[in-house]
Symmetry: D2
Subunit: 312 residues, 4 copies
């Protein structure tokens, strides 16, 4: 058994040809289609569409969404966790109501200050999976998607680590626009941008601590994964907060690009009644929301300042 990189032989889901399947809303109906070499989207019913002009739905309908806390060495270094092999991955979940599509609105309630981006790739499960080895796990993967694991860090100091409110609020998971097969994931580079400026970047093969096969085998020791389930594979260093109006995107070479726009909404009515843990601005919240600048490349920090209209 081998779950180290690089591979002797690529698993089938990473071998070509590349296939990207997207789901769009046209009028009031959802349609699946396949991306063409010229960048157009061919719907299964035969129509050829300008892919840029479409309304995208999430290409997944998961019964569960599991996220890796930390799976990139740069993020591990930034947050003072140790790199492999002395640790094992840890997980949290996002509810299906957090799903959002490409070009989605990412909601920031008026009483929250810290809405952080985290560019990631998602793994989509293609078949029922339980009690598998890492080698076997590859066959359970349908494909990969770009994703943004957004978080309301104002709630960082509640929920005792489950991050339900940090990561689980409505709209906090833009994903898509497509599910992609036939691409060597470990040869790709992931970038997160804010208003077009790069704020996170990682070569997936070089930075990944645990691959999706390892993560699937780990989770499936005790939990059955079913077709459509989604695993979010963690983010590289420099997760930071953004504000209404910012366009956040995660772009992965060979896979695609998903973006969302931060939109302000009113504080919830129950908040005015004092119900529940209020958004806070404690040192723990700021530690995570604002990060550890000394361990992050200068360019990312400069780009984020520029996106925020701040002076260097």
């Amino acid at each position: 058994m081998n779950f180290e990189f690089p591979f002797q032989e690529l698993p089938a889901v990473m071998r070509g040809p590349r296939v990207e399947r997207r789901r769009v809303l046209l009028g009031g109906s959802a349609f699946w289609g396949t991306m063409q070499d010229d960048g157009q989207l061919r719907l299964d019913d035969g129509r050829l569409l300008d892919a840029e002009a479409q309304t995208y739905l999430p290409p997944v309908s998961p019964s569960k969404i599991i996220a890796v806390h930390i799976s990139y060495s740069s993020r591990s270094m930034e947050t003072r966790n140790k790199p492999k092999p002395t640790e094992t991955p840890t997980y949290f979940t996002k509810p299906p109501t957090s799903l959002n599509g490409h070009k989605g609105q990412i909601l920031k309630p008026a009483d929250c200050k810290y809405l952080n981006y985290e560019g990631e790739y998602a793994v989509v499960i293609g078949r029922t999976c339980r009690n598998v080895t890492p080698d076997e796990a590859w066959d359970c993967i349908e494909g990969f998607c770009p994703a943004l694991d957004m978080g309301l860090q104002d709630f960082r100091d509640t929920d005792q680590g489950s991050m339900l409110r940090v990561k689980g609020a409505d709209t906090l998971l833009p994903i898509g626009p497509g599910i992609v097969r036939g691409v060597n994931l470990f040869a790709q580079t992931l970038r997160t941008t804010v208003d077009g400026l790069t704020v996170q970047e990682a070569h997936i093969g070089e930075e990944t601590i645990w691959g999706p096969h390892y993560v699937i085998a780990d989770i499936a020791r005790h939990i059955t994964l079913v077709p459509g389930d989604v695993i979010l594979m963690g983010t590289p260093c420099h997760s930071r907060s953004v504000d209404p109006g910012h366009v956040v995107a995660c772009e992965i070479t060979g896979i695609g690009r998903v973006e969302g726009t931060v939109v302000a909404i009113d504080a919830p009515r129950a908040a005015a009644l004092g119900v529940g843990h209020m958004p806070t601005d404690t040192p723990e919240v700021r530690r995570v929301a604002l990060g550890f600048d000394e361990r992050v490349p200068e360019q990312f920090k400069a780009n984020l300042r520029a996106a925020k209209g701040l002076q260097a």
Copy 2:
């Protein structure tokens, strides 16, 4: 037990106040909201939207969609069926993939000529329902929606009456934009329009042969209805065919208005290979697609001719 109209007392689902729930796609996420008195849509998260400017999803996610063949006296007369009480209702089904939202695209394949409209109201099931009486059936209704039960009549003479291909093709069920409670259905008037001209019209209370309570009790004799299931309640006289570019709408006073636009698509690839029953133009097809003009009000016929740009 009483399943006759008028009612001594309105069932709860028809008693006020009126509540209309709609589901929209904003960015890439679906949101539920409630219509306000001023015509705006208040999303549950607090945002107030211009209801006219939204992208609507079907407000239902049914596990099954059952349709009444004929439930209006004018349609019964037109098609030579006898009015009550000598007959009982009959049914067919549409698959969930036929669902379409308000302002949807209604697809007409290039090899089909007869895409007929049928304006209807839909009943949405709110709770599990089996083996009930008509009186009990009212409590199983979540609400009502406008709907268009479109049909590719070119396939009328295949499928031995199940109408799978006539009524079951993708996009042939525009429904919504909302689910409405608190309105006396039997005091309402249903109109179907083509490019704004009325081509069907019926006062629901006066024309209905069997109410939804009767139909639910009938079906639920042998089939369990589950929350979200949809029943289409039939159409009045003058179902006729429309062409690409036509905007078809079903408007029901007190309930709402759903519209769709007919869009041309290519003939399916398998058709070129001779697979399956080909669209036909037989007398039986024409009988249903073109209808019985002698039993339809002159104005409806004139309006349809006008919508089609035909001379009187």
Copy 3:
């Protein structure tokens, strides 16, 4: 393109090795497992079970179930339809609430007389499928299941051919116990038994008029098939009625065997109120329920008489 039998090369879903996946209820949880060569069921969590002693759930959760009216030459002959190639297949649907598992109870209401068996194989869709050719359709098939398409023929003369009440009542689709890949479907023989006596039999390759690839390509001309959808492929000659206490089974060599027991239930309450079309015993009902004995092998008729305790 070729959609004739025999094949030059078997499609992947029919090439070995054979894999059979089953879903059982243990305590109150559903578990998937794989059949072993020794006839035991290996759950994914590692447990090895006596396959005979299990409680089976349907191995499918379809969004739609489409059934071919007639796809066997013996059935076509029996019912006076013409064999290919002068006709094309026709379809009806069954709602998801008709699903039943292996060893299920098949309900026969007290006011019905004619509950007919139809042994069939089912095709399970494995990927989204629209606008495909017959050649491409093979890749959309996840596997095959034995199935019993039971029908309450007392309602044959209502619903204008859709057979919603005939075929759509709760429990009328025992299916499973497994989904099977890696078996040459066209080399198999299907048998239906009543109390162990063979009452239907067909060599699938010799009797099939249209293969599943043709049927999928036909339906997917206008209707999107989605993963999990089920297509019932028709029955050979000698569909007849059975009574409470009878054990009906469909056994397909290489695929498996599903059985159900006919159980009497009370007539629905609404029937006593005169709601809906009553079960009838008209010539049309009897024509289908009792069949055309002159075109059926003597042995099948003799076996059914024996199962019913009737003298020859």
Copy 4:
């Protein structure tokens, strides 16, 4: 607004008459029924069954399952958390694959030592719910179920507090057998038993820190709850570990009783390969798994020792 107990007026979901809906598997089909006064289960199709002899399915199909960490004063005291009003509730999630029915098998892998029980009541959401006040939240509740929030505490020191592996493994949520309306939840007493001996007990009204209306309003500030979603309302003091063969039950007066049997399974195959965090027996694990005996009534401790065959 009032979210304190006792109530001036009971919300509708707690006002009589009591209605309990259960879902059973008969043969291979699921059926809903209503409990009768004499303890029999009346299926919707009319059959009257011995409720004790049935195979129960979970009465819920949630898209998400959210659990309150601590909502009872005795549990809060035991674990050194402070009672209200100085704190707010915190949450974690369980995936749908953790669902189990009444009389289910609760799986304990061979490499785990600490499978802890937590008797709870569950709240089932009946309508879409977002941005509500506690007063409004009552209308979103469909009913209540007994539940066992089982946990593999061997994984307590991984997942950084999300408890995905502690609480999320397959089978760790026996729930049911029914959903109950029309009972004053706050007048009831919850008891957890092991082999019939009481090991947890709490009067819900006296011990509850936050009611379900508060919890719903809190969660729905940012997360849309949809029909069928389940909220687990926390457990009283004395959550402890049990072993294969133990029958664990949660009984709530007026609501019902759910039980499960602990069953041993092999360690997962990936564990032998060193994949993932291994079950551990650290002080933190033992702190939670074994609890704080000084703050727990003597009788509960004595009963658990007796169930385990240990001497006093």
